[in-house]
Amino acid sequence: MINKIAKTASEAVADIFDGATIMISGFGEAGSPIELIHALIDQGARNLTVVSNNTGNGHIGLAALIENKQVRKMICSFPRTANSVVFPELYRKGEIELELVPQGTLAERIRAGGAGIPAFFTPTSVNTPLAEGKEIRLFNGKPYVMEYGLKADFALVKCKIADRYGNLLFNKTARNFGPIMCMAAKSAIVQAAEIVELGGIDPEIVITPGIFVKKVVEITNPVSENQLISENRRYPW
């Protein structure tokens, strides 16, 4: 029998190793797998490369992982947001590395990594500092920059509904990077607000097919990042 269900977040993240590359879903507060990240803080893997659109907010979730010095390098498109305090401080001190990637290029690189495409050409960033040192090539007289597919050892993803095969449904704009990160990671680890019986998800509406998912764990009432930040909470609690 196929059963991808882990009993706890700790069990789900147990295999993450020092030096791993980890993709973390979310766009701002939407879709960030806070419970899985906190389990990773408890677990303690270090020297991580994290691929995520932002760098976390306040002192919880991804920001707490960074604050706990587990992250060596961030690959992201927008490292500073209104409530981002941890990353900017470490970055200014030279204690964390940053690879800045335009958001669409980041998404396409992740999708390419998952789809077996080692490299592709995009018009994005041509004639800007972010294209410096990269290969430029003309197609139909227009310049494009070559970008590489991006893979990861693990993905930490938040979704709404899952089944034991790993089929996933997401919630509104919390979908964002989740589906493509599941594709690009060797082991996608997913927290779902609900795990349903096989057959409980209509095959026509599955967003992430189970083939892309390694483990699912039910986190029934995930914390609200916004609320924790308004309460000035820090992890570890």
């Binding site: 490292p79 209104a82 669409g104 290029t105 018009p123 509104k172």
Partner: protein, 216 residues
């Protein structure tokens, strides 16, 4: 540093841009000022707003009690979804952008140059945390880029310049510039002033614009 006059206010600028958007257009509004444009679409037009974090059919802001942390726009503000909306993941969202499917994008600017170069993501200052988001994708992929900006910086410096001194977002990408002082079209042959605010005349406009301006 020039004398700062009073031109159109933000709402008037938003209204002018909204008037530029035809029925049936797919439109992406940048974070901040550009978001105002959604409020002024004429009632006889149906325009569909895209937000790059995965929603086509962005509706008005919700009342406080209906806010949903998982239904936000690219500026991370709570929004609603209209009837006929749809959600999608980031690769599909930027396929819409990069693939040329979005008709119009309204963005802010640090600087716009004579030939339509845009700088709006970094002032290049040492110590600043660089952050680019989707701006570079939008300017390359969207058919028409409209800039919504004050004509002068807070210090009274011109934002419409001969050459951008800040790092570029994209080269030759801007089609129209809407400022508090004027509406300017970017053409192959230069910048053409289409309209000026009541208090603004062409000489004054030239005095607070580093780039060369032409009249139709």
């Amino acid at each position: 540093m020039v004398e700062i006059r009073k031109g159109w206010n933000r709402e008037e600028m938003a209204q002018k841009i909204a008037g530029h958007i035809p029925n049936g257009a797919y439109v992406n509004l940048g974070i901040g000022l550009p978001e105002l444009v959604a409020n002024y679409i004429p009632h006889d037009r149906e325009v569909i707003f895209h937000t790059e974090n995965g929603l086509l059919g962005v509706g008005p802001s919700p009342v406080k009690e209906n806010e949903d942390d998982e239904l936000i726009n690219a500026g991370k503000k709570p929004v609603t979804a209209i009837k006929g909306a749809c959600f999608f993941h980031h690769a599909d969202s930027f396929a819409m952008i990069r693939g040329g499917h979005i008709d119009i994008c309204v963005l802010g600017a640090f600087q716009v140059s004579e030939n339509g170069d845009l700088a709006n993501w970094s002032t290049g200052e040492p110590g600043a945390i660089p952050a680019v988001g989707g701006a570079m994708d939008l300017v390359q992929g969207v058919k028409t880029i409209i800039i919504f900006t004050q004509h002068l910086t807070k210090n009274g410096e011109p934002k419409i310049v001969k050459h951008c001194s800040y790092p570029l977002t994209g080269k030759g990408v801007v089609s129209h510039i809407y400022t508090d002082y004027a509406v300017i079209d970017v053409k192959d042959t230069g910048l053409y002033v289409r309209e000026m605010a009541p208090e603004i005349d062409f000489d004054y406009l030239k005095s607070c614009t580093e780039a060369e301006l032409k009249q139709y």
